[in-house]
């Protein structure tokens, strides 16, 4: 997903294989059984609190303890060496039985599951939740395009009424999903919140006052957009192995995007946890004062400049290479206050399929960049640089890029847009945005989330386009399709892993389709009341359910 305001916590250390096997392990022992009355948190604003619609880390961080799907990612800190790619059964009683190539998955629901409003969780609720996504025109519907029968809904999603490939039996409590082809990442997709189960009675429109009833350990009792929300225990929840039942009885949140203010709230003890990243100008003094109450986390994210190949000058390879030479990735990390790691790869280092491009293919070299611009024949052209205006870091990085491009022979024109509109505008082909800021945080830990969504020529859209560079080479489209449709036995094989890494390198180096520059690091800040050692980081963020007090 794209992030507008840097937020959320992600701890991903190197993930290794093992995408499907094994049963769950219990949550971190340090935080077990340490219940307390209320956790007060400061949160960034978000887009929606409806699991069918929300595509922001701020919401997903809450959803992990609220909305459950058939399977879920494990609720453990992904330590070095073990994986964040481990999946545990959630509403299903075990991982699915599947046929040999993974195109037919059978799940059985646990018995006695209830939503927070008392309704029983039925198999048909799962099917209706997926259909609801289509009716809502959710950003996640593309993830389900491989399910048999989903093509009827893809044409006009709002009129979706049935997906023949999802077969449910409420009496037996079974869900069967049939896929048109093998899909390497399908189980992961089921861990995203677009596949979370809400009651069939949930209205087919954005539901936030309050958000839909939930099957997880908690539910969201109230939500005021951009202001506050409250999370309470689900009175009808029966503990599921591997899913923390939760320490706080109640989570009270206020929402603000003022970074200095959120830090101040936690410093003064008014609130116990700051979900927003700390402001970089005070980071040093805060670190000195609060030491271990500030935790830093790598995220599975890449920040990059997209370069639209449908418009000059970036239809020219030399022009794209010039951009890669013209940016000093270290400086871009500095502009983020040091909270990041320079990169030339598209995949973040946390992926097993990541292989660092070494030696660097595009070391910082203004001279070379100037030559390339000259050779491309595009010198003197006007280039519109797009970036987000209300995030200071994104703004500065955009202005830095514009300055560099001016130095190498183009005439830049800055377009700084409010974050609320930014992705809509650059995602609209009519804007003809030439180059601009983009960032992507993983939706799930498999490379299709990157290459299929962001680089596949078959996924270019007129509006709400995520392939902002309009990358469209037959060879790469074919390779992405091939690698994305492998049976599960091959999805994590060494050869496949190598092939993904090779694809990354070829696209970034030989074809220079994007100009990646850093993987982000973010902060979480706990008040003096809290014990930071309980903190558990589940791949993308802190788990509120597992926090504990001193």
């Amino acid at each position: 997903m794209a992030a507008i305001v840097a937020a959320g916590l992600v701890l991903v250390v190197s993930a290794c294989g093992g995408g499907g096997g094994g049963s769950s392990t219990s949550s971190s022992t340090a935080s077990q059984g340490k219940t307390f009355a209320e956790l007060k948190v400061v949160w960034g604003t978000t887009d929606y609190m409806d699991p069918g619609l929300s595509y922001r880390l701020e919401s997903w961080q809450i959803f992990q303890d609220v909305y459950l799907g058939l399977v879920a990612k494990q609720y453990q800190t992904c330590g070095v060496g073990s994986g964040c790619t481990k999946i545990i059964p959630a509403l299903a009683e075990s991982l699915p039985k599947s046929n040999s190539d993974g195109t037919d998955l059978k799940f059985t629901l646990r018995k006695g599951l209830k939503f927070s409003n008392g309704e029983t969780v039925k198999a048909s609720d799962f099917k209706n939740s997926i259909i609801r996504d289509f009716k809502l025109n959710s950003p996640g519907i593309g993830f389900f395009s491989n399910i048999v029968g989903s093509d009827t809904c893809e044409g006009s999603p709002t009129k979706c009424s049935d997906i023949s490939g999802i077969i449910v039996d409420d009496k037996a409590g079974t869900v069967e999903i049939k896929l048109s082809q093998p899909q390497s990442d399908f189980l992961y997709i089921l861990t995203t919140f677009f596949a979370a189960v809400v009651p069939s009675s949930t209205p087919d429109k954005d539901t936030e006052s309050p958000p839909p009833p939930a099957a997880g350990p908690y539910y969201i009792s109230q939500y005021k957009p951009s202001r506050s929300f409250t999370v309470l225990r689900n009175p009808h929840y029966q503990p599921i192995p591997g899913i923390p039942t939760g320490n706080p009885d109640k989570i009270t949140a206020i929402m603000t995007n003022d970074l200095a203010q959120s830090a101040q709230y936690v410093q003064s003890g008014q609130y116990d946890y700051d979900e927003n990243t700390l402001p970089t100008d005070r980071l040093k003094s805060l670190q000195q004062k609060y030491g271990d109450h500030i935790k830093l986390w790598r995220t599975p994210s890449t920040y990059y400049w997209f370069m639209n190949q449908r418009t000059p000058p970036f239809d020219n390879l030399k022009a794209r290479q010039a951009v890669n030479y013209a940016i000093n990735r270290q400086t871009l990390v500095d502009l983020r206050g040091g909270l990041g790691v320079p990169t030339e790869n598209f995949l973040p280092p946390t992926y097993p399929q990541y292989k660092k491009i070494s030696p660097p293919a595009y070391p910082y070299d203004l001279q070379k960049a100037k030559q390339l611009v000259q050779q491309s024949g595009t010198k003197g052209m006007t280039v519109g640089v797009y970036t987000i205006s209300d995030d200071d870091i994104d703004k500065k990085q955009g202005e830095y890029l514009a300055g560099q491009l001016d130095k190498i022979g183009w005439k830049t024109k800055l377009h700084e847009l409010a974050g609320a509109n930014y992705f809509v505008i650059i995602g609209n082909q009519a804007t003809k945005a030439q180059i601009g800021f983009n960032d992507w945080y993983e939706d799930y830990p498999y490379p299709t989330d990157w290459f299929d969504v962001l680089e596949n020529g078959k996924n270019i859209h007129q509006q709400h386009n995520n392939n902002n560079s309009n990358v469209n080479f037959k060879w790469s489209n074919d390779e992405i399709d091939r690698l994305g449709h492998l049976p599960s036995s091959q999805a994590f094989a060494q050869k496949t892993t190598n092939d993904w890494a090779a694809l990354d390198k070829k696209l970034m180096v030989q074809y220079a389709t994007e100009a990646p520059f850093l993987n982000a690091v973010i902060t979480s800040f706990f008040s003096s009341k809290m014990d930071p050692t309980c903190d558990v980081f589940t791949d993308l963020f802190d788990d509120m359910a597992q926090t504990c007090q001193k």
């Binding site: 100008d281 400086t331 500095d334 502009l335 040091g338 909270l339 990041g340 300055g403 024109k413 800055l414």
Partner: protein
Amino acid sequence: MATTGQEEFTLDTAAELAAEEGGSKIQGKSPWALAGRRLRRNYLALGFLAVFILVLLVCLLAPLYGKHVSHVGPDTPNAGGSIHENGRTIPVLSRGGSTFGQGGSVNVTVGGIPIGPQWGASGGEYFFGADGLGRDVGTRLLYGGRNSLMVGLVSSAITTILSIVLALLAAYFGGAPDWIISRFFDLIWAFPVILLGIALGTALSINGFHHGPINIAAGSLWIPIGVIAFVFIPYIGRPLRGQILALRNREFVEASTAQGASSLRIMFTELLPNIASSVIVLFTLIVANAILTEVGLSFLGAGVQPPHPSWGTMIADGQDVLASDPWLSLLPGIMITITVLSLNVFGDGLRDALDPRAKVRIEH
């Protein structure tokens, strides 16, 4: 001071002088000359006028500063650069980064903090320090001043001229023109000023203004100029209209009409000179307000657009490094306060000189 036992509660220089001006002292002198004399004796006002002119000059000389002192322009980013001082090389923005230790721990060295004022240690570069993108604060301060002052002065001039024209038309002709123009004033008046300014500023900064024969690009300075000029029209227009209405019925206007003078001639020779002193006073007050409005609009992102500097955008830029480098926001604010203060004090002195008992104020 006081004369003959009267306890006049006035100690304003101008009123003093006005009290002195009796009999032979003012014989043969026009009101303008008298005003000039009162102004000349008001050292405080003159002093602040000098300050304002000094600020204006210094800002106009921004290119010289850029060329000879700081060696950069106002928009020259230097995020990855360094300066040489006392034999050491210091990066303009602190170098930082994140490293990963055993067991998944992460350590960060904070980067991107701009260097503070060097006060000449590196020979003119970054005299007042750098901003978040490595640009020279001193240069931007001067160029920003140029932009802010230009926007302030030009928009005030435009609004004054427009207001005079509209007020004359409305008050002199009365009837339908008066009704239309008064409703026009009312309409602008009804908007909360800053809201209207931000709305216009933002809408115009999306694509510029390309309607009819007028073509203004989105980043042009003419946009904030136009917006501020537009927003202030009723603030001058209404008081002037009131004044002209009062004048219109005076005998000398009647006399002129009786003599067969044309409307235009009456407006120019009878009405205009009599509102001149009000106009002058209102003008100085509007300039001060226009500058403050530009600062407010630019601070909110609806005024001068990046990368052009203005004092308002610099204050906004300095917000996120407030804790570690307060100079960024501090300096432009000091300049603004000095400038506006000078205008206010001089404006006071001007008003006292032109009419010690003037009841002319910016009406609300």
